[in-house]
Assembly symmetry: C2
Homo-oligomer: 334 residues x 2
DNA sequence: CTGAAAGCGCTTACAG
DNA sequence: CTGAAAGCGCTTACAG
């Protein structure tokens, strides 16, 4: 059927092992032999069978990427970048959507998905740290995001608190005093949301402005929820002169609602977000936000994972990487 | 190391073949035997080795998805849906980004990527029909999109021309007479762009309105290009009372530019797009557009591909599926 | 309904 | 530097 290594070996007049050596770039091969093999490969149009290679070697050269939903802009952009970086190092990325449920996350961590990959880039949103630690098996896992911050794990994350503080300070520097926060999760002090809220509060503290819980608009991190949350705030008669969306989707939802209500942005209310998704640049008005260094996150997380797989990362405990960030000042909060 | 079928066979006191039969739901197995095997599997925590299965059976139960860039909102949403549909039928989706270059598309079609998948969902953007036909090999390929319309291929597409005609007719019904078109490719009569432009012209014809080439704003399909194209049109002094973006990103870019210039939407200029990406609902003003039936596209394309793989689709020639569409009337063109 | 054997196409010790 | 053999863990004919 297909051309096999055996056919190549026969055509080149060498043994199977020699063909394998050539394919795997083994150092000590006589140049003449190497050339004979390469000629036979070219002549026969041989292509290595990846499945057979995987079965024998136990490696698939695929990395798993577990995230809640690929259609979310942030994840779509991240996945795209991760694939490009991985490709540069000879790996593919296989994506699994968890919908942020414990069941699906557990499945991705322990089920057949795991077999198909040499290591996992895992965004835990529902599972707790102990469950992840118990179920991670012995292939490398690198955590992405902030839901779990635990010295047991390799982790690549962004500077949530610090960046949120900088955004908030920027709004304060623009003269804003009552900054509503959209996307707060009531009882959550962990995760991206909790950390960004902490950054917000620190900025207020440093500016000597009292924190007013009235200004918190709780909702899940979806655009329509952001619109609804800001709408509810306005209906309750809460006054504010700025909105900080805990991510861009929320900020854009809020922006939309403000404009519908005839509130001018940034004149009456300034708006800022977090993530710098592509859309932020093209909103009307364009959105002031924080770019959390996605390129760096992609490079470092893939790098760390592959180093673990190939045994190039010597550190014993969890490696913790924090990517840098950049404040993007645009029209919505100049 | 890991638990194998052999271990299960030994524990259950049956042969390897019997375990295989149970795992593959072979009909004629004595219930008692089946149960013994299931008990042994549960007791030992056996999980089938997918790589070994693939090597022997020649099937990976993975589908390849080739598209230009996963970070484009339309593709991200499509990929997310395709994965969910495929998962329901027991397949995974492996994504390959081509960047719309001939080289990468050819690689995805003929290179090692192909080995990893039982069939391909392929969005050709750079390759020509003959090259695809020559290189597709003997595993099933289903084309997505409109760049290649050819009876030799299975194809799932949207009603570009018809839907564009309906959008244009809607603008005309609202009293607009000079409708600019953003995203035209100068010499391209094929592909989504060409077909949508044809729909636009048909609507004009039927309304008895003369076509004015001045109103065509050529650019590639990116948001910033849309903004720049409409800007160029305005700078040239071309007058218009509506804009039809050949996709939503273009329409949103144009919308942004119009608002910046102090042109009121929809009062001065109505704006409509194509795709109904999530963002369209939340733009300010929200965007009138066409929903091209992405759910249906996902269902039908995965269904067709898997039917081909499993030999369930009897048709000899290429099957051509056209998904339905819905006009979404929103604020930008009521 | 079930069994014993072969083999998918590689890589990996083991020799030399 | 290269060879002959074993074996990764399954499924697939072939028997019975």
């Amino acid at each position: 059927m297909a051309v096999t290594m055996n056919d190549v070996a026969r055509a080149a007049g060498v043994s199977l092992k020699t063909v394998s050596n050539v394919l795997n770039d083994y150092e000590f091969i006589r140049p003449a032999t190497r050339q004979k093999v390469h000629e036979a490969i070219a002549e026969l149009g041989y292509e290595a069978n990846l499945t057979a290679r995987s079965l024998r070697s136990g490696k698939t050269r695929m990395l798993g990427l577990v995230l809640s939903d690929l259609s979310a802009p942030y994840y779509a952009e991240l996945a795209s970048k991760l694939m490009k970086v991985a490709s540069g190092r000879g790996y593919r990325v296989l994506v699994e959507q968890s919908g942020a449920t414990v069941e699906n996350e557990t499945n991705a961590l322990q089920g057949p998905f795991r077999q198909l990959t040499d290591g996992l880039l895992f965004t835990p949103l529902a599972m707790e740290a102990d469950a992840v630690a118990a179920g991670r098996g012995n292939k490398p896992v690198v955590l992405l995001g902030e839901h779990i911050l635990d010295p047991r794990f390799d982790l690549v994350t962004m500077k949530n608190e610090e960046a949120a503080k900088v955004v908030t300070a920027h709004l304060l520097a623009g003269g804003r005093r009552r900054i509503a926060v959209v996307g707060v999760h009531p009882e959550q002090s962990e995760g991206s949301g909790g950390m960004r809220l902490r950054g917000y509060r620190k900025a207020l503290d440093e500016a000597g402005i009292e924190f007013d819980p009235e200004l918190l608009a709780p909702c899940t991190w979806r655009r329509d929820e952001g619109a609804a949350a800001i709408s509810a705030l306005l209906d309750r008669g809460v006054t504010f002169d700025a909105v900080f969306g805990l991510n861009d989707a929320l900020a854009l939802g809020a922006l939309h609602e403000l404009l519908i209500r005839g509130i001018e942005v940034p004149k009456d209310v300034a708006v800022a977000g977090f993530d710098d998704i592509d859309e932020a640049r093209f909103a009307s008005p364009s959105l002031t936000t924080v770019s959390p260094g996605m390129d760096e996150i992609a490079e470092r997380s893939i790098g760390l994972l592959i180093d673990r797989i190939e045994g190039l990362e010597p550190t014993d405990g969890g490696v913790h990487v924090e990517a840098g960030f950049i404040l993007k000042i645009r029209e919505s909060a100049p």
